[in-house]
């Protein structure tokens, strides 16, 4: 684990060295989405062969930052800048396309309205949601009353009624109060405070401040500059999937505020200069070249988008072979042993040739359609 040493000068002039634990370490996180324009594009992503040239969209283009214990970090930026994607990756809900993420501790994302089952009662929903978040029965029972009380008087009256009879504000109160009663090290809040009425909002902010006082690490996304100012010490400004600025709240927020206010007056080139958006398509190789000193593992794609590995291919071909032989042996009433020794006596050469031709034709067709598409794009 990496520690950060912070110098702290006290009133008497004695220098303390405070040790801070690293909580989140992100290196060159990227996230790529497929842009599916037609229904056939969706189908194509399922096929292991053939045309896979689907247009890509990079929501994050290499985001790096460190968050230490007790920090409360605000993430600001315009709509579609990649804030929510970043929070989802940090809370390990979605995996990044490439890059490295190290999280020391348990994260908990607060996003209202998620995970409520409308035909169960409020109480059942609380139990269900707590269970999904990995709490034990004893913990749930101990916290039940707190959760219900936090949600407010209106919810207390209806706690044993199905959630579908709740108003939308009440639903979000219920969801919010379940989540703030978890005990995570790292709290991730995605615009959760923007719902609910003023009294509830105040309650929520008070609770957040309490978390902060307890020394919990907080990551906070909001469009309200006032909220970020109140809660956060550090701010990361993200635009077009890149970090524009990172630093203390007093330093970054005024600049972001100014950018936001003059946004519509600026020309596109001016905006792009501030947000570091080059405008051209992003590739991982580009990121690699821009950071030649970093290790290679930061810039290679993760497992999820990779094709079958050779082990998988071997296992699949072996299983296919066994399957076809056994079926043939079964139909021809021969023993498996006989089939293994004389495979050609079970399956005629003609069938093998026909099968081979079909496979080759499929591969060729896949290659040809890909070439056609490329030519089409170039025209």
């Amino acid at each position: 684990m990496i520690h950060k040493f912070e110098k702290c000068v006290c009133a008497e002039g004695i220098i303390f060295i405070l040790e801070k634990k690293l909580k989140i370490r992100a290196r060159f996180l990227t996230k790529e989405y497929d842009m599916m324009k037609t229904k056939s594009d969706m189908l194509k992503t399922l096929l292991p062969f053939g045309n896979t040239n689907i247009e890509k969209f990079w929501a994050l283009k290499g985001v790096s930052f460190d968050v230490y214990e007790g920090d409360s970090v605000g993430i600001v930026g315009l709509n579609g800048g990649g804030k929510s994607t970043l929070l989802n990756i940090v809370s390990q809900i979605i995996p990044p396309t490439s890059g490295e993420l190290e999280v020391n501790g348990q994260t908990n994302i607060i996003s209202v309205g998620a995970g409520l089952n409308y035909s169960l009662t409020g109480r059942e929903n609380i139990i269900m949601k707590c269970e999904m978040l990995g709490m034990s029965d004893a913990e749930i029972n101990a916290k039940m009353d707190d959760i219900i009380n936090f949600a407010g008087d209106q919810v207390i009256q209806k706690i044993d009624q199905p959630v579908k009879t709740y108003s939308s504000g009440m639903k979000s109160r219920l969801g919010f109060s379940v989540l703030v009663h978890q005990d995570p090290d790292i709290l991730i809040i995605d615009e959760a405070l923007s719902v609910g009425d003023a009294p509830f909002f105040e309650k929520g902010v008070a609770r957040m401040k309490q978390f902060k006082a307890e020394g919990k690490t907080i990551m906070f996304v909001s469009h309200s500059i006032a909220q970020v100012e109140e809660l956060c010490d550090k701010v990361i400004w993200i635009d077009h999937g890149r970090v524009v600025m990172e630093g203390d709240t007093s330093e970054v927020l005024p600049k972001f505020d100014e950018f936001q206010k003059t946004y519509n007056k600026k020309s596109k080139a001016e905006r792009n200069k501030i947000t570091h958006d080059s405008g051209t398509n992003f590739t991982l190789e580009e990121l690699r070249e821009a950071n030649p000193d970093e290790p290679d593992r930061y810039f290679s794609k993760r497992l999820y988008d990779k094709p079958f590995s050779w082990q998988t291919w071997t296992a699949m071909i072996f299983l296919m072979y066994v399957l076809v032989l056994t079926i043939a042996a079964s139909i021809k009433n021969k023993s498996i042993l006989f089939a293994l020794i004389h495979p050609l006596a079970i399956i005629s050469i003609r069938t093998v040739i026909i099968f081979a031709i079909v496979v080759v034709a499929m591969i060729l067709a896949g290659k040809l359609t890909r070439r056609n598409k490329e030519r089409h794009v170039m025209d």
Binding site: D34, M42, A114, T312, L319, T326, I327, S330, I336
Partner: protein, 272 residues
């Protein structure tokens, strides 16, 4: 192969949560019904009565099947079919209907098909209890052969989970798939020998190749096996070819299923 272990490991570490959430699921499905969960058993019972009357009494004229009354022959296979059918259809919709719920928490999405499985399993145990009672009434008593139930039960779970992984992913991406699956299950019902005995059919016996092709079907393997287990007409190791065919199909399904599941799981939200 890494993907398969990853997916299986997620199931094993989350077994407790899967079971508890399945119960809540059942509760919410029949929340508005007066008879509640009883419907889950009542519905198949009505179907069984229909098949008993139409096939057992009218078509087969109360002729014994493999030496047992029709109802005793029908039940072990039919309840397995009923469970598999509802599970396959439920699992294929499970991801679409539940991904919203788990989208904002760290919840292993690969357990969603298992949740449906655990949910339907509750009904299966009830139906199994009823079946054993009826078997006893018709003179089928517990024997060593009943041990085979454990083997075929494992087969059934492995098959249903691997199919569930594939179909749930497909349904998220292409919603039409669920409708297609529904029609395919209609076909499966007739070719898997759930309600009539293919082994004692003259037409089938004169075309052994057709019979061999039908036997490739994993549904047939499980339904036939369940019958074997309860009625004591054979042992699972007596047909190694069928066993190899079945398990290599499961292996292929599992590899393909976990591969496409992992390929798409980060993007499920985008498709809904």
């Amino acid at each position: 192969m890494k993907e398969v272990w990853l997916v299986i490991k997620e199931q094993l570490t989350n077994l407790g949560v899967i079971n508890r959430l399945a119960k809540y699921d059942e509760k919410s499905t029949f929340q508005a019904h007066i008879l509640g969960n009883i419907w889950q058993i009542l519905d198949p019972l009505i179907n069984i009565c229909i098949y008993w009357v139409v096939f057992g009494m009218i078509l087969y004229g109360n002729r014994p099947m493999d030496g047992h009354p029709y109802i005793a022959w029908l039940l072990p296979g039919y309840i397995a079919w009923q469970f598999m059918r509802s599970e396959v259809l439920g699992a294929s919709r499970s991801m679409v209907s539940r991904v919203q719920m788990v989208s904002k928490m760290q919840f292993p999405v690969s357990t969603i098909p298992s949740m449906t499985l655990a949910n339907h399993l509750i009904n299966y145990w009830w139906m199994l209890g009823i079946t054993v009672l009826i078997e006893l009434k018709y003179g089928v008593y517990p024997s060593a052969s009943w041990i085979q139930f454990v083997y075929y039960f494992i087969c059934m779970i492995a098959f249903l989970y691997s199919v569930g992984l594939i179909t749930s992913t497909f349904t998220v991406v292409v919603r039409d798939f669920h409708t297609l699956l529904n029609s395919m299950m209609q076909l499966m019902f007739w070719v898997s020998g759930t309600i009539f005995n293919m082994n004692s059919n003259n037409v089938m016996n004169s075309h052994p190749t057709i019979m061999k092709i039908i036997q490739i079907n994993p549904f047939y393997y499980i339904i036939n096996g369940m019958r074997q287990a309860f009625l004591g007409t054979g042992w699972f190791y007596q047909d190694p070819k069928a066993m190899i065919i079945f398990w290599s199909i499961i292996g292929l399904f599992l590899i393909i299923g976990s591969h496409i599941h992992l390929k798409f799981r980060s993007r499920f939200i985008d498709y809904i």
